[in-house]
Symmetry: C2
Subunit: 480 residues, 2 copies
């Protein structure tokens, strides 16, 4: 997932968004649809379809790095699963992206106190020369400190940025960690550094499972070796540096871009009986980072959306509008699936009723925000009333961004929600070997399915739209 802090600016812009259409006829959800949504919600709360889906994906496919050996297997799984669940239409839309491969990675302090370090290469990292690279370490406590450094102090050295993150329910400190991870390597490269290390963008201070993730490198020519240390290893390196002697590290990364790869977004649809060309898009991303099995990032998101659709499929009749569940390709290395979808469907933005993606783990949803036209706020309040009993508070002050991949469609003008999960421990596991099925509580996952089933059904049955139109929300300040 990507997630950046909301700002006060964002809040004020959100309130202004779509103000020009304030005179529209109010969008409402018919009472019969509200009642059905409540039934869907209650049924989903006691249903384990979502858990079974994520168990199936993480067990049968396992890690799913984009372009890796399980990319095709993941897509095959998704096609088969949509069909097994009874979706009306199952298809794929190709997505092409650079193929970056991880082969091996090792790091060790060479002196003054020789010892191995737990390390993981970052996405688009260059490899080191064969046999590794040894250089002195220069430490910075923040990205800003690196920005202010004299390039001469960095040239030829291994830059180590030791910025810390704390746990928060909305995960906002990931703004710190992801900025270091994406921007740090690019900056270090420009300053002439030999390599880049960061304290993992994570919060598991007792676990030696480093967090991978994408860098800002897009041009392989500018890439240098870039990797993350686990938090205890970052603390250890910091202690070793504290002795005041020069510290050298040997970094041996075998990884790099080897070409391009064509994968696909996998889509399952429940065809709307009244307005089949009007779409309620929900989803998650099918790719994962490779050290874990991608349970919370983002097998859970795929499972929540697939299972929500399954709840709706079990109704006696199809909803008025089409529910489109999208399992996106390659979110992790740069929103490729989301961007491909938005590019392909840009001209249909007005047909996208209201959408959002789940990509922040598997814990309970506690907050809903929305970017919709003012005359649809009443319908959002109707949705809020249905999901409030399962613990979701509606915050009308902030925008909804549609989640990571669907943020791209929101940027085109799609009305969007953000359904924020409890991310307190998300960055303990995210992008690490510990992103595995045991992190998912089936009951918490079921609450997510309940919320997605209820909202997407109500959106599909609404009398009226939520304001989707080209560029309708481009100044709402939503970041995901």
């Amino acid at each position: 997932m990507r997630r950046l802090p909301l700002t006060l600016l964002a809040a004020s812009l959100a309130l202004a968004a779509g103000a020009s259409s304030a005179a529209d006829k109010a969008t409402t959800i018919p009472q019969s649809a509200v009642k059905t949504a409540e039934q869907l919600r209650d049924k989903a709360m006691g249903d384990d379809t979502g858990y079974k889906i994520v168990e199936s994906l993480t067990t049968e496919v396992g890690p799913r790095i984009a372009g890796g050996p399980n990319d095709q297997r993941g897509r095959d799984w998704a096609v088969a699963k949509f069909k097994e669940l009874g979706y009306d239409k199952v298809y794929t839309e190709t997505v092409t992206y650079p193929l970056w491969e991880r082969r091996s990675e090792h790091a060790a302090i060479v002196g003054p106190f020789p010892q191995p370090l737990a390390v993981i290469a970052l996405g688009y990292s260059a490899g080191t020369p064969k046999g590794g690279l040894t250089a002195e370490v220069v430490k910075f406590d923040s990205l800003d400190a690196l920005k202010k450094a004299d390039p001469a102090s960095v040239k030829g050295k291994i830059v180590f940025v030791n910025a810390k993150m704390a746990r928060h329910r909305d995960g906002h400190d990931y703004g710190i960690g992801s900025a270091v991870r994406t921007g740090g390597p690019v900056l270090a490269s420009k300053m002439g550094a030999a390599a880049f290390l960061l304290r993992s963008a994570g919060t598991d201070e007792h676990s030696r499972t480093p967090h991978t993730g994408v860098t800002g490198f897009r041009d392989p020519k500018e890439a240098i070796p870039a990797a993350a240390l686990s938090l205890p290893d970052a603390d250890q390196l910091d202690r070793v540096l504290g002795y005041g002697k020069p510290v050298s590290i040997k970094l041996d990364l075998d990884c790099g871009i080897t070409g391009t790869y064509t994968g696909a977004n996998v889509i399952g649809e429940i065809t709307g009986k009244k307005y089949p060309d009007q779409i309620v898009p929900i989803g998650g991303h099918l790719d994962s980072w490779d050290p874990g099995t991608g349970a919370i990032d983002d097998g859970a998101g795929v499972a929540i959306a697939m299972a929500a659709g399954k709840m709706i499929l079990s109704l006696p009749q199809r909803p008025d509008r089409t529910i489109r569940v999208i399992a996106f390709a390659n979110e992790e290395m740069g929103l490729f699936g989301g961007r491909a979808y938005a590019d392909k469907h840009a001209s249909e933005v007005s047909k996208h009723q209201l959408g959002t993606e789940s990509d922040f783990g598997a814990r309970k949803i506690w907050r809903m925000t929305a970017s919709v036209k003012p005359s649809a706020r009443g319908a959002i309040e109707q949705i809020a009333k249905v999901i409030e009993p399962v613990g979701v508070a509606y915050d009308p002050q902030h925008p909804g961004g549609g989640g990571s991949d669907l943020s791209q469609m929101h940027a085109k003008g799609m009305a969007a929600l953000t359904l924020t999960q409890d991310g307190t421990d998300y960055f303990d596991y995210h992008h690490t070997a510990n992103d595995t099925l045991d992190k998912i509580d089936p009951r918490e996952l079921a609450q997510n399915v309940a919320v997605y089933a209820a909202f997407s059904y109500m959106a599909a049955q609404a009398d009226g739209d939520f304001g989707s139109a080209p560029d309708a929300f481009k100044n709402d300040g939503a970041r995901d």
Copy 2:
């Protein structure tokens, strides 16, 4: 550490131990010594010497597998640290052991669902043939189930024992895990298995850090490849097996015995002013397993004993008897340091006043048990009264075993305590990459130092002995 469950039999034997000397003059601790011990205790509770020692060891030396590159560096560190702390006499006693080397390890499910598994080779494991070994997996839920299996069902296969451990304050479920780890590979080898895998002997069900540890292989000719899966990986393999299809694993271990190595126990002494040849031995083991930095196993034990001695060194005068702090060599691969010490000092067992070793982590001591002659029970009660205010309950019903290495001297007849630490989370980290400094709470470590300083000082000042004599406690049932 090794730790096996106490039995009711043990309890009854403990009460009987030394009964023949019941008519001895009672051993007592002079009131002045009790008062000094209370002062030592109170000072140690607010002192960070122990924490600084374990920080120094884990930072400057890091992982310390016996015979590995840091074996010599660890000994050099211990000699220097004893001297820096002001010990009166610092020396080493050589210990020779097989040299087993870990070079690399990989495992993956080949079919039906290809994916890597987090694995670590066990001590004395054989390597696989170069390029790895692929075989079908056959699972057992316990060592007993494997014992009962038809060897034909195991021959040529990879045996997987998936026995579970739960957390307990006294860590008694390690009796399950360590039995599987030591006995399982030997049994599997005898039954003709190609290799052996176990669910790690640990309790960290959410962490993909497998637990290494020693096997029962002593003769390299009987060794087969043997390794541990992390708990989430064991659960994953179990789920994959649950599909009912044949599951094959590729195991690629590069490890094995390459010769013998001569290390040493490193000893620091505070020379007794009245009875310099009478010894109060305390200690920990200097070696560690290699994935972590050996903070809780057993840098903490070394630090507790060294720091307790430092407290006593800071008194205006030396204690009556000698305090001997021993940093044992190679506990992990078969108590080599403890056995060498006991062999070398067997004839001096009666000169060993009362001893114990710390090797169960760094959390607070909550229980004291003792194996002493009946006429020394009063002195033990005096010790108990001094350490009770810092949370230690005296259990007179069970024997004291002296800790892992000193169990060997206890077996020769040395009077011994067991000072049991809270081991609730010990097996979350023990023998894994997560055994690092951040697991140690400086205040809890200080409580250990307080208890060791107080007890060892009182033992050194006692009027009388605790019953050490050849074979004095051989039937007490103590297991550590």
